[in-house]
Structure formats: structure tokens, C-alpha cells
């Protein structure tokens, strides 16, 4: 039974109790507790069910390596599933729930899986569930899906504050243990910026507890002076509660700041760090030995047992057995023994050890058995006894020892994940039994330089003496390599050189375990990967470590195999009869620790999800009931419904107001790109398919741009402002693309041309005044004469409306008399209001993008993106006239000569009139001939003007089909017949644009 001691606990404040709920029970912990320590203090040992067999599981560690104790924590919009209880600080009224069981943790229906585990070996699902075929979808898969998964997803929307922070630093030190602190001290005062990230809420790492316990005055002094140095050094920035999760190219680092101490706003930040050099001081993680029944609640990593004791004053049990293969873990039993806890036996897999720490343990009267290990564990939902066996046998039990806790230690695994993220290689250390950073194959930075240095336990250096000895030296070497002038750093070693603590690389005990025992040995707790699963993978030829991982799911759980990878690799090597270093290891990938998806999105959620660009007339549009349509990043008014109008009625009204009276369109989003210079004409001749250099100042010309493949890419009206200056209008969605396109050609291909390009899209707003009464409306402002003589079609003038400067283009996208007024954007709203006011007596109506589309479709004008889809040439659109034959060169010209672009089978733009004039063809429906699709509808509307359905379409060899009737298939049951005509339904003679 686990419990809390009356005193002790460096992390907790006993004066402040914290109430929390665990599966509906009200429990108490202390301020500073983690959820795990508080649960242990309340004797909650059994806290989870495993993934596959739903076996009872307990808290196994005290940190991020925790494979078992995953919980759902929080409530409502702060509920989070799958959280490691070992990492979360306990908060007042916190709600903690266990997961992956039904109906309850104690009585879980699916624990029945455990009984059938012999049939559920690795990959069994690849071998069955295949008959009958439909059963996979309707029976087997739904069954598997329901059983799998861990926690439940939140139901409510997330209210957390997430944000991203950029930071640049010369040196990033990852980990604030002894190595990290020493590195920071050694690097200071050299003119470098240094950042130190520590995942814990305090600096010090493992040696912090060492210097707090006992009479280690020298340690305390060192720690105190180090803290002072870190505090006062301007060049060192320390971030606590910040875990580095990924290393990317060119020194880009992601770190997750999870400040759990905040009051109201618990902020979570993703730090995007650029570091020139990275010092890895991430320490090591203890790994377990693999033995039969090793997954029962009550079994915990040895150092974690000690951590709970020292940090939280929590005991895993009062009768604890240690099973180990190394000297380090003796610390745990010594600490426990000092507090009067019963240690019936220590089982050491080694033949002997003469390390002083072992002697110390012996001196305390602890019974130590060398060459022994655990052969079985008794207990149903928690440990009640162990059976001792010899390491070399098949596991015959020699002695049964009652106990209620087991500390296990299989040695330490350097925490090398981050070393591998960006190209660092690892080498196998056969003596210690772990992978460590290969100093010959380091991660590299932008210039190909070594940009990471591993120090301390993550590099396989474990003794405090060695760390304090080596770190300054390595930092000095680094400094000289980085050519940082300044002094060498020297630190007196306060630690004494001790006899080396040793681990013998044993992994699975007993060595000759019978099949029956092997079936109860768990390697990966969370995914329930057993020793026998890995053996099966090897037997079936999944020999490559990646194959074995994927076949058995070893190391693929949320702990990413932090405690299981090395054991798994060992088992694989044994099964294949190959040395471990020939097996290799799977690739470590970011993130080191799982990070919330909301954090990755950062502040860019909800309102900030994506920028919405608003026109200067947006406010008016929004006050006047506009429905919005996103066009690239813009929001444009789609239509302006009035009262109880249906959308159809609105569009009708808007279209007819342009045809009969006058309408106003906010077309501010049109791209406006200024092209200026002595070579501007030449340049535009290369860009557009038609001639632009011949355009006379004061006139407008419609132009089309193609890409090199010969396909239409954008279109718009080009205006020649003066000899040297053109203003090119583009589509709304295409402005940025066209601007980039022009710059690209100018800078990278035709840089000899003297031309400048300025994107003035937002300097000017544009208002279209369209309809037979447009001229009358504008002439109510006395200052302007807009007669056809003064301002002919495709000309422009600059003038004032009242005192507002405007440039008026006589262009028409509706076929009606129409003026487009360019105005400085700051005055656009004012001008719009004037036009609305002046237009009242002409029954002026604002119209939106949909009415605009109907109006242009009635005229057969194309819209890039509707009539074109990136595969359409000007010729396909019936616009041969816009492709200059005179020009030597322009973008797309070569492609027009390619065989396929001249094929007779190309689709050509036509008008389509349904025989039943009320029948509007569905969007995108296809024309069929002999059961084959021969084209499709590109735009289709009910024309309010013509009171009939109209459509444009691209039909194979369409122009030669004019006059014929085609079948359009709109659904599998129904066909519509329509006549192919010229794509110009309204005023084909073009008389209306003069009013």
C-alpha cells in the first residue's frame, strides 16, 4: 500500500492542501504534488488499463517516460485526455479520470481480451477477419475501433490561451541539470546569448535532490552559487517548464512552455527558437528489467520510487524489493532503509559488486542476493509477493517473499532523441548497454558545421565528478572551434572521484525463461507488446527494426518507447542471433513529447485563423446586409438581400437594376499593378498575349496572360496612364500572384529591361457604376462631362467628384453603359455614399459578385477560374484575336505550337441554351455523346434579363457544333437537351455599352 510520510517532500507545501476528484472520489493532496504523487499518497496504485489486453496497470515512473498512468484531466473546455499523471501539477478541484475501460476501472469488460491473449499475438489481425468480405467493414473493424483508442476526445471547444514566440540565440542549452548548469556558467561572459530550457519547474535536475538530502554542504554551496550566477548573468536566459520537443534544419528548435503555475490564464507557448549551437544536456531515463509479470501495479522504476520519496514524501510501499543490474539503484533502497522501510531483499542480476554504495546497503542490513532475479510476481491487481530465481535458469522459484512494492532498474538510457532529430547518428555502447551520441556523426547546421554537443548523462557520462570535470573542457574546446575569443573557463571540481558505478547490460531475466514466463513479460506496457510478440516478429521475418516496430507496435505508443525501445531491440537481437549494434534502432522523430494540436495552431485560431481582407467599403456592405463570399483572402459582397427576399429574388433585382437603371459594385479588390519605365511596353508585350506597347495613353485595353504551357492564367484591363506608365488590372484573386509573376520575369529573365513594378491594389478602390442611367447619375455631380465624345468606350479621364479625385474608366463587364471609378482608398467610402445618395432618384442598387457573374455570363464574358481551369488556351475560349501574330515572343507562344494544343479534339467555349428554357443546367454537368463525356458546363444561370436559362461550356470541337443539340446529363436518371450557340446571349451587336 502506498502512502505519505508525515514529513519530507522537497516539492510540496504541506501547509496548502489541494482537493481533487479521482473517478468521483474526493481526495486530498498538497500544493506542489503531481497528480501521480497525490494518487500514490492516497493509495491509488491501480490507475489504468492497458491498450490491448486491458490489464490493470499502475504508476510506473515519475516523469515524461510514464507508459501507464494516462488520465483524462480537467473539465469542460479544459478537459484533456491521455495526460501523464506524472507530469501534471495538481490543482484545486481538479477532476481526474481514468480511461480505456468499461464500465469501470476495476471491472473492465474488455479485460476478457487478456484471457485470449495467446490468439492475439503480434499481427494476428493481418491473418484473419477477412471472411466474409463485408464483415471487416460492418463487424470486425467497428469492434476493433471501439476497443482501441485510449481516452475520450473533449466535447467542448478549447478555451486555452496558446501562442507562438520567436527567439534567437547563439547557444541553446537543453536541460538544466548539472551538465546544463555547468555549460551555462562556462559559456557566460563571452559575448554570446545563451538560452537554457528546463522541462521541470526548478533548475538542478537529478543532482538537486542529491544536494538537498543529507549533509552534502558542498553540493548545496555549489547549487546556491550556480543559481546566483544564472540569475545575475545578463547573457543567460532561463526558461523553466519548457520542454524542447523538436530539432529541425538550420538550428530551428521547437520548445513547449507549459506554465502550470499561472493563475487564471495558464499560458501555453510554442517557442520557435533559432540556435546557432545547441548543447544537449537531457540526461538519461531509467529503464526496467524485463521479468515475468512485470506489469503489475506496485512495480516502479527504482529512481522514481526515490523521487516520490524525496520530492513528495510518498512511499510506494512499506515492504519493497529491488531488482536491478547496477549500482545506481542502490540509492533508492538506502534512502528507504534510512526511513525505516522494510527492504526484504535486493536482487542483483550481477555476479557481484564491490561498489561502496553496495557496501553501504549491506551495512544497513539489507539482504542482497547476487545472480538472482524475479521469477514471478504474485498478486492480482497489485504486487503481493515475488518469487526469487536464479538469473541463469529457466525461472524455478527458490523462495517466495511477500512484499507490496517492487523497484526495478535495468540501467540508464541516455536521452538521445533530440540528437537524432536532425541527422545525428548513435553508437551502441556494448559495455553499458545503450545507444549514445556518435561524436563522429553529429547533427549539422546550415554551413554543415557540427551544431550540437551532448554533455552529461545523455552522452553516457553519469558521475557528477566526471560531468563537472568534462563539461568546462568541452565548452572551452567548443569556444575555440566557434572562434569565440575570451578566457577559458575553469571550475574546481567539488565532487570527489568515486569508484565508477556499473551496470551490466542485462535486459530480460531470467535468461532461460520458459515460454510460459516469456508470455508474461511485457516490453512496451502501453501497447501491450510482449517478449513473445517480438520473437514472433523475428520468426516471421520482420527482422528489420522498423518492420518489427510496425508489426508489433513496439515503441509506437504515446510514450514513444522511452522505457521500452532498448529492451525491445535487445530481444530482437536475441531472437535473430545478431549483435545489438547490427539491429540498429528506429528513427526518433519530433516531437520528443506530444504537444497539443491547439498549441501548433497557436494564436491562429478562431478570429485569427486566417486574415480576412476587407475593402474600404466593407463597413457599408456589412451594414447593408451583405452576404459574404470569400475570394482569395478577401471577403466580398455576394449579394445584398432586402427584407424577406429570397436569394433568387435578390439576384433578379440586382441584375435588372443594372439592365434597366443603374447599379453600384464594390470592385475594390481588383488587382492594380503599376508598370513603369522606358521598357514598360516591351515588357508587357512579353507578358500579355496581345500587344500592349501600341496602346495609346489615355486608353484601356483588355488583355490575357498565359503561362509557358500556353494556358490562361489571368486577365484584366490594361490602362496606359502616360508614355512610360501602365496600370494593369488583374482578377481579385490573382493580384498577388500576377504581381509576383511580373517581378519574377523582370528580375530573373528580363532584368535588362528598365521597368519598375508597384503593386497599388489597395491604394485605389474601385467602384463600378453600371447601367443605362450610369451617365446621368455621374453627371449629377456637375463637375464632370461624361458624354460619349468626351469619354469614349475604353478610354479614361481623371477628374473630381465634388472634391474627390477620381479616375474614370469606361469599361464594361456587363455589356451596359458602365464606368469604373478609381479613387484613393481613404475616400472610397465617402464617394460610395455620395453615389448612393445621388443615385436614389435613378433607383440605384448595389449589386454583389453573383449578380456580376450573371451579368457577364449574359454577355458571354469569361471568368478566369470558371471558364478556365489551368488547361484552357485563349484559342479554346474563341479568343484567337487576343493572341498576337505580330509579336516575336511572349509567354506561352511556344506552347501554342505543340501538337496537343492544336488538336481538333480540344474543348471550345460555346453558349448553351436548354430547349426547355426554365431548366437551368446544374453546375459542372457534362455533355454526353455516345455515352462519352465531350465537355462540361462552366457557368450556368437563370438569366433574369432574358428570362431563360443560359450557360457557357467547354465542348469538344464546340464551335463546329453550333446549332446542334446536345444531351447534357445532370443525374443518372435525367438528361437535358440544349442547343449550342454563340457565347453571347445579350445584345450581341454590342450597342448597349454606349447607353
Amino acid at each position: 500500500m502506498s502512502s505519505r510520510l508525515p514529513h519530507e517532500g522537497s516539492r510540496i507545501n504541506r501547509k496548502k492542501t489541494v482537493d481533487f476528484r479521482f473517478n468521483g472520489k474526493n481526495l486530498k493532496g498538497f500544493d506542489g504534488d503531481t497528480v501521480a504523487s497525490a494518487l500514490l499518497a492516497n493509495n491509488e496504485l491501480f490507475v489504468a488499463r492497458s491498450f490491448k489486453y486491458h490489464r490493470p496497470r499502475g504508476i510506473f515512473s515519475a516523469g515524461e517516460e510514464e507508459p501507464n498512468a494516462l488520465m483524462g484531466i480537467g473539465e469542460g473546455s479544459f478537459f484533456e485526455p491521455n495526460i501523464r499523471a506524472t507530469e501534471v501539477k495538481l490543482k484545486q478541484n481538479m477532476n481526474v479520470e481514468t480511461q480505456n475501460h468499461w464500465p469501470s476501472l476495476k471491472f473492465d469488460f474488455l479485460s476478457i481480451n487478456n484471457l485470449f491473449s495467446r490468439f492475439f499475438a503480434a499481427g494476428f489481425y493481418y491473418k484473419t477477419f477477412m471472411w466474409p468480405r463485408a464483415a471487416w467493414k460492418y463487424l470486425f473493424e467497428p469492434m476493433i475501433r471501439r476497443a482501441s483508442g485510449l481516452g475520450k476526445a473533449p466535447v467542448e471547444y478549447d478555451e486555452e490561451h496558446y501562442e507562438h514566440i520567436y527567439h534567437h540565440t547563439d547557444v541553446l542549452i537543453i536541460g538544466g541539470g548539472l551538465a546544463g548548469i555547468t555549460a551555462a556558467k562556462a559559456l557566460r561572459d563571452r559575448g554570446l546569448s545563451i538560452m537554457l530550457c528546463e522541462k521541470d519547474c526548478v533548475i538542478g535536475g537529478r543532482y538537486l535532490e542529491d544536494c538537498k538530502s543529507g549533509n552534502q554542504e558542498r553540493y548545496k554551496k555549489l547549487h546556491k552559487s550556480s543559481m546566483e550566477i544564472l540569475k545575475k548573468s545578463q547573457d543567460i536566459s532561463v526558461k523553466l517548464n519548457t520542454t524542447v520537443t523538436g530539432i529541425f534544419d538550420h538550428g530551428f528548435v521547437l520548445a513547449y512552455e507549459e506554465n502550470q503555475h499561472g493563475n487564471i490564464a495558464s499560458k501555453k507557448a510554442l517557442w520557435k527558437i533559432r540556435a546557432k549551437t545547441i548543447i544537449l544536456c537531457t540526461g538519461a531515463i531509467e529503464r526496467p528489467l524485463v521479468f515475468p509479470d512485470n506489469d503489475l501495479p506496485g512495480i516502479m522504476l527504482a529512481m522514481s520510487v526515490c523521487d516520490y520519496l524525496q520530492k513528495y514524501g510518498v512511499l510506494l510501499g512499506d515492504r519493497l524489493v529491488l531488482t536491478t543490474n547496477n549500482d545506481y539503484s542502490y540509492k533508492t533502497v538506502i534512502e528507504l532503509k534510512h526511513r525505516g522501510i522494510d527492504i526484504p531483499v535486493v536482487l542483483d542480476a550481477r555476479a557481484s559488486s564491490d561498489n561502496p554504495i553496495v557496501k553501504e546497503a549491506k551495512g544497513l542490513g539489507i539482504r542482497i542476493l547476487f545472480g538472482k532475479c524475479i521469477g514471478k510476481v504474485e498478486g492480482k491487481r497489485k504486487v503481493s509477493a515475488i518469487g526469487i530465481c536464479s538469473v541463469n535458469g529457466e525461472g524455478t522459484i527458490e523462495e517466495l517473499i511477500p512484499c507490496n512494492a517492487i523497484a526495478v532498474s535495468g540501467g540508464w538510457t541516455p536521452n538521445v532523441n533530440l540528437w537524432s532529430h536532425c541527422g545525428g547518428k548513435l553508437v551502441w555502447d556494448g559495455e553499458c548497454g545503450f545507444y549514445k551520441p556518435d561524436p563522429e556523426n553529429t547533427p549539422t547546421g546550415r554551413e554543415g558545421e557540427t551544431n550540437m554537443l551532448a554533455l552529461g548523462a545523455c552522452a553516457g557520462v553519469f558521475s557528477d565528478y566526471d560531468i563537472q570535470d568534462q563539461v568546462p573542457r568541452k565548452i572551452n574546446q567548443l569556444s575555440s572551434r566557434l572562434k569565440i575569443k575570451s578566457k577559458r573557463y575553469i571550475e574546481t571540481n567539488i565532487f570527489s572521484k568515486e569508484p565508477e558505478k556499473r551496470t551490466i547490460p542485462t535486459f530480460v531475466l531470467p535468461h532461460g525463461a520458459s515460454k510460459d514466463k516469456q508470455n508474461k513479460m511485457f516490453i512496451d506496457f502501453q501497447n501491450d507488446v510482449k517478449l513473445s510478440d517480438l520473437q514472433l516478429a523475428a520468426q516471421e521475418g520482420f527482422e528489420n527494426v522498423e518492420h518489427a516496430k510496425r508489426y508489433t507496435t513496439l515503441g509506437m505508443a504515446t510514450d514513444q518507447g522511452k522505457t521500452s525501445n532498448i529492451n525491445g531491440i535487445y530481444v530482437l537481437s536475441q531472437s535473430l542471433g545478431k549483435p545489438v549494434d547490427k539491429i540498429g534502432h528506429t528513427t526518433f522523430r519530433p516531437p520528443y513529447k506530444p504537444i497539443p494540436l491547439g498549441l501548433i495552431a497557436g494564436q491562429y485560431a478562431k478570429k485569427l485563423f486566417k486574415p480576412v481582407r476587407k475593402t474600404p467599403i466593407d463597413k457599408w456592405n456589412s451594414l447593408n446586409n451583405a452576404i459574404w463570399e470569400p475570394v482569395a483572402d478577401w471577403r466580398r459582397a455576394y449579394a445584398y438581400p432586402k427584407g424577406k427576399e429570397s436569394l433568387e429574388e435578390t439576384l433578379n433585382r440586382e441584375v435588372l437594376s443594372v439592365r434597366k437603371n443603374v447599379g453600384l459594385l464594390d470592385s475594390s479588390t481588383l488587382g492594380k499593378i503599376l508598370v513603369k519605365g522606358p521598357d514598360a511596353g516591351r515588357f508587357l508585350d512579353l507578358i500579355y498575349t496581345n500587344l500592349m506597347s501600341t496602346l495609346i495613353a489615355g486608353k484601356c485595353r483588355y488583355g490575357i496572360m498565359c503561362n509557358e504551357a500556353g494556358f490562361v492564367f489571368d486577365d484584366g484591363v490594361v490602362v496606359r496612364l502616360n508614355d512610360q506608365t501602365f496600370l494593369c488590372h488583374t482578377t481579385s484573386g490573382g493580384a498577388d500572384r500576377v504581381y509576383a509573376w511580373l517581378e519574377e520575369w523582370l528580375q530573373t529573365e528580363w532584368h535588362h529591361l528598365k521597368v519598375f513594378i508597384v503593386n497599388l491594389t489597395e491604394q485605389y478602390s474601385q467602384i463600378a457604376v453600371a447601367g443605362p442611367k450610369a451617365r446621368e447619375l455621374l453627371q449629377t455631380f456637375r463637375s464632370i462631362d461624361l458624354s460619349a465624345e468626351k469619354l469614349p468606350f475604353m478610354n479614361f479621364i481623371e477628374t473630381n467628384i465634388d472634391d474627390i479625385w477620381v479616375r474614370i474608366y469606361r469599361v464594361s463587364f456587363s455589356g451596359e453603359l458602365s464606368y469604373e471609378l478609381a479613387v484613393n482608398s481613404n475616400q472610397a467610402e465617402e464617394l460610395w455614399n455620395k453615389l448612393v445618395k445621388a443615385g436614389k432618384k435613378y433607383k440605384v442598387q448595389p449589386y454583389g459578385t453573383e449578380a456580376l457573374h450573371i451579368l457577364r455570363a449574359e454577355k458571354g464574358f469569361i471568368v478566369v477560374g470558371d471558364e478556365t481551369d489551368g488547361t484552357v488556351t485563349p484559342h479554346d475560349l474563341g479568343m484567337e484575336w487576343i493572341v498576337s501574330k505580330k509579336k516575336n515572343d511572349f509567354i506561352g507562344k511556344k506552347a501554342f505550337s505543340l501538337p496537343h494544343l492544336n488538336s481538333i479534339l480540344r474543348k471550345q467555349l460555346v453558349g448553351i441554351l436548354t430547349l426547355d428554357k426554365d431548366k437551368v443546367l446544374p453546375d459542372g454537368c457534362h455533355a454526353v455523346e455516345d455515352g462519352k463525356a465531350i465537355g462540361h458546363v462552366t457557368s450556368t444561370y437563370f438569366s433574369p434579363t432574358l428570362k431563360r436559362s443560359i450557360a457557357l461550356g467547354l465542348i469538344e470541337n464546340g464551335r463546329s457544333r453550333k446549332g446542334s443539340t446536345l444531351e447534357f446529363e445532370s443525374s443518372s436518371k435525367e438528361s437535358t437537351f440544349a442547343k449550342i450557340v454563340d457565347p453571347n446571349f445579350y445584345d450581341p451587336e454590342g450597342t448597349k455599352h454606349d447607353g
Partner: protein, 183 residues
């Protein structure tokens, strides 16, 4: 009158709106255009990523052939007009871009912090001197940053992004989300 962004925030952010400005394009070897700039504006071209201020006129470096001229004084309007006309007689360009951008002023000793939440540049104190001008991105949008001093920063975005920018500032300047280091 400038609107201040309201709310419990850790810097002062003012919505300025428009500042009179011209985008200037000029070839470094074009003596004639350079002459016009020198004669009319009286400011020599700033070096890379710098801005030079004189008489409430600030000339900012955008690229080796592009500059931004800001005028924070009404009296300069006539001068700007003349300059624009003369400049456009050369092969250079001077176009009004007053209406194109929306400006904000960030004030306070944490002014730089707020930008660090969206700008991928190194805005560490050692690197950033006064009168620096940067064009870069903030989140998803392009931004111009004129560092008047460490606690006074002028930024601009496209006018269509104004509301988005305000929302961004509100979200990123909440008190309690200051960028702090521990120890």
C-alpha cells in the same frame, strides 16, 4: 486623435490609420532620379534595413531599388507633391501609397515582445538598434516595422488587414502573456 486598443494589455497600441507616404523606386546608377531625391527630400538614401529621419520626413530602405518615404507633418504635403511629379519624369517611380497601408504605434518597454510573437526576425536587444526598418511577416501577413526606439515601434500592414491586425494585437498583448524568463 489616435485610437488606443482597449483591454487589459501589457503595451500601449495606437491605431494611427494612414500616414502620408510614397513608395520610391530608383536605380542606384540613375543620377537624375537620385538627384531629385537629394534635392527635394534632402535625405541621403538609407543603408540596408535602415531609416533616416529629417524634418518629420523618414526615408526607409525596403530594397536596393525601393524606398518608403513617410511624412508625419501636414506641411510636407506640397513638397511631396512636387517630388512625386519630378520623380515621375525620370526613370524612377514615386507613387502615393498613403491609402495602401494602415499604421499602428506600439509603445512601452515590452513593445518588442509583442512583435516577437509573430515576427521570425531576431528582435533580441543586442541586434536591434534605433532607426531600423524591417519588412517581414507577422503570422500570415506582411508587415513593415520602423523601430523609432526600443519602446516605440511603428508598424504598418495592408489596409485590408487592419481589422485582422487589431484582433491579433488584442489576442497577443493580453496581460499575463508577457514574454518572461525565469530566474
Amino acid at each position: 486623435m489616435m485610437d488606443r486598443i482597449r483591454g487589459d494589455i501589457f503595451v500601449d497600441i495606437y491605431v494611427i490609420g494612414s500616414i502620408s507616404s510614397l513608395n520610391i523606386r530608383v536605380y542606384q546608377e540613375d543620377k537624375k532620379s537620385l538627384n531629385v531625391i537629394q534635392r527635394k527630400i534632402g535625405i541621403k538614401l538609407p543603408s540596408v534595413q535602415k531609416a533616416i529621419e529629417k524634418n518629420k520626413l523618414t526615408l526607409c530602405w525596403i530594397s536596393n531599388d525601393e524606398y518608403l518615404l513617410l511624412s508625419e507633418k501636414k506641411e510636407n504635403e506640397g513638397l511631396l507633391n512636387q517630388f512625386q511629379k519630378q520623380m515621375n519624369l525620370t526613370t524612377g517611380v514615386a507613387e502615393y501609397t498613403t491609402d495602401l497601408r494602415s499604421w499602428f504605434l506600439i509603445k512601452g518597454n515590452r513593445a518588442m515582445d509583442i512583435l516577437r510573437k509573430g515576427v521570425p526576425l531576431d528582435l533580441g536587444k543586442l541586434e536591434i538598434a534605433e532607426r531600423n526598418f524591417f519588412r517581414t511577416r507577422l503570422g500570415e501577413i506582411q508587415i513593415n516595422i520602423l523601430i523609432k526606439s526600443l519602446d516605440e515601434i511603428l508598424v504598418s500592414v495592408l489596409r485590408s488587414h487592419k481589422d485582422y491586425m487589431i484582433d491579433w494585437f488584442e489576442a497577443c498583448s493580453k496581460r499575463g502573456t508577457e514574454i518572461n524568463f525565469d530566474l
